[in-house]
């Protein structure tokens, strides 16, 4: 393999490049990305709070980047993948023997908010800078749509900055699909405990305002005043550029348990990849930092081997910082959840999920040490 093109230069793309070099690839390495590599998790946390700057969240120093000895095409998007190679927005086509698809995901937007000022999403550094500026202008009422992790983190940051915040969640219980109903409800309590209003079980019907948002209309007819709205309603994988590539795409690039597509020379990693999880037996798009950091080691080994020789068999893990508390989760939630340490009322506890007698997942608030112990036990459960 003489040339490898890595498309996407966030965490998964950068780690893939580092793994290629670490695993002995000494050929031409081409890095294609809309943005330089930076760490996204702080954007909805410490960056909004002003605790870290754009410079602080670089994923690699200049020395690390130089060590990759790569050819960089930054500030440009890949528009097509075909027999002749990757075609970029500036018309350049790069032919390679191996391809790493790491284009991540794009924040979902609300159609009703199109052409309306004051409605934000948060995915990129540019988004975070814009939101920070809008918050500095002193909005009188902030509405966050979606009580998932991004929504909750943004609500928390806005509250810590002193704003009046309302969170609107269409589902009856926040985070239930991820944490189960019981733990989702516990997380939902964090909002009220910190003087943030949480409205659940009501979808957003639209917005009021002329040119700029003035309020959010709910499906039940209520209206919530808002001069700043943040939509945290998920992300969709960035796969449009793969139309016509022959790669199978269905809510992400379909890959096997080793992150390899139907073409052994094309791997996909991070938020854009939907891999066959050997632990769960289903296809999963693991939209979390840890997976984006860990999948490339496996995927690159398979790319260099020319076939799937190793598998990505790790339990999903993510963390979230909300209202000064640290939430950690690993594995899969079930309805059988038991508190094994602490108590939910104090918001300092460890919960273990089971299927029969088998541990399937762990969730904890402000209990990193016991969480880590259980997470290790979980990884041993196969």
């Amino acid at each position: 393999m003489r040339t490898v093109a890595v498309v996407g230069t966030s965490l998964a793309g950068l780690r893939a490049a580092q793994e290629l070099r670490a695993q002995g690839f000494d050929g031409r390495l081409v890095m294609i990305g809309a943005e330089p590599p930076y760490d996204r998790p702080p954007l909805s946390k410490d960056f909004l709070l002003g605790k870290v700057s754009a410079g602080d969240i670089a994923l690699a120093g200049q020395d690390d980047l130089d060590a990759l000895a790569a050819e960089w095409h930054l500030g440009v998007r890949a528009e097509k993948l075909g027999r002749e190679g990757v075609t970029l927005g500036d018309g350049t086509t790069i032919a390679a023997d191996g391809y790493v698809v790491a284009t991540g995901a794009v924040a979902r937007t609300l159609d009703a908010a199109r052409n309306l000022g004051g409605v934000h999403t948060l995915r990129t550094l540019e988004d975070a800078v814009a939101l920070k500026q809008a918050l500095a202008a002193g909005p009188s009422s902030v509405v966050v749509i979606g009580a998932g992790f991004i929504g909750a983190e943004v609500a928390s940051a806005c509250r810590l900055l002193g704003h009046e915040v309302t969170v609107i969640e269409a589902m009856p219980v926040p985070l239930a699909p991820v944490l189960g109903a019981r733990m989702g409800a516990v997380c939902g309590e964090l909002h009220a405990e910190n003087d943030v209003r949480l409205i659940t079980g009501v979808p957003v019907a639209g917005f009021t305002g002329d040119g700029r948002v003035a309020g959010v209309r709910l499906a039940d007819g209520r209206e919530v005043p808002a001069d700043l709205v943040v939509a945290g309603v998920g992300a969709r994988p960035a796969t449009e550029w793969l139309t016509g590539s022959g790669l199978a795409v269905d809510d992400g690039v379909l890959v096997d348990s080793g992150c390899v597509t139907a073409y052994p020379r094309v791997i996909a990693v991070g938020d854009v990849a939907r891999y066959r999880c050997p632990l769960r037996g289903v296809r999963v798009r693991a939209e979390h930092w840890t997976a984006a950091g860990e999948q490339p080691g496996v995927a690159v080994a398979n790319l260099l081997a020319g076939s799937t020789v190793t598998h990505f068999a790790r339990h999903g893990y993510f963390w979230s910082d909300q209202y000064g508390r640290r939430l950690q989760f690993a594995g899969v939630a079930t309805e059988d959840v038991r508190i094994v340490e602490g108590d939910t009322a104090s918001k300092r506890f460890v919960a273990a999920y089971h299927r029969g007698d088998v541990l399937t997942g762990v969730f904890a608030i402000d209990s990193p040490r016991p969480f880590t112990r259980l997470r290790r036990a979980l990884q041993r459960c196969r």
């Binding site: 580092q18 702080p42 840890t290 950091g293 950690q328 990193p368 040490r369 290790r376």
Partner: protein
């Protein structure tokens, strides 16, 4: 020299965090005691809450591993070492010399 704790308070595989302007933790692993800056050099997490194995501690947040002997990270995401400090055990008490800021590896 500051008193960390007595030997009996720090079993094998455990760590204790010392209060102070810069939190320092003492780790007990494989019969030896090590003192390091407690805050992971990658992102705000306490290494005392981490997983201690051999001469390494793994950060509880992102699994960056630090060598207890040198403070150097041996894998991403951490890029910078954490400081280490001399540890002295006398009469069943563990002391840390937090004044002697050792060179970062």
């Amino acid at each position: 020299m500051i008193r960390a704790c007595s030997v009996s308070e720090l079993p094998e595989g455990e760590a204790v965090r010392l209060a102070g302007p810069v939190p320092v933790s003492v780790f007990h692993s494989e019969g030896a005691y090590y003192a390091l800056d407690d805050t992971c050099s990658h992102q705000d997490a306490s290494l005392a809450d981490g997983w201690i194995e051999g001469c390494y501690v793994e950060c509880p947040l992102h699994a960056a591993r630090f060598d207890l002997r040198t403070g150097a990270p041996d894998c991403l995401p951490a890029k910078n070492a954490v400081r280490t400090y001399p540890v002295v055990v006398a009469d069943g008490v563990i002391y840390v010399d937090t004044e002697a800021r050792q060179e970062v590896a």
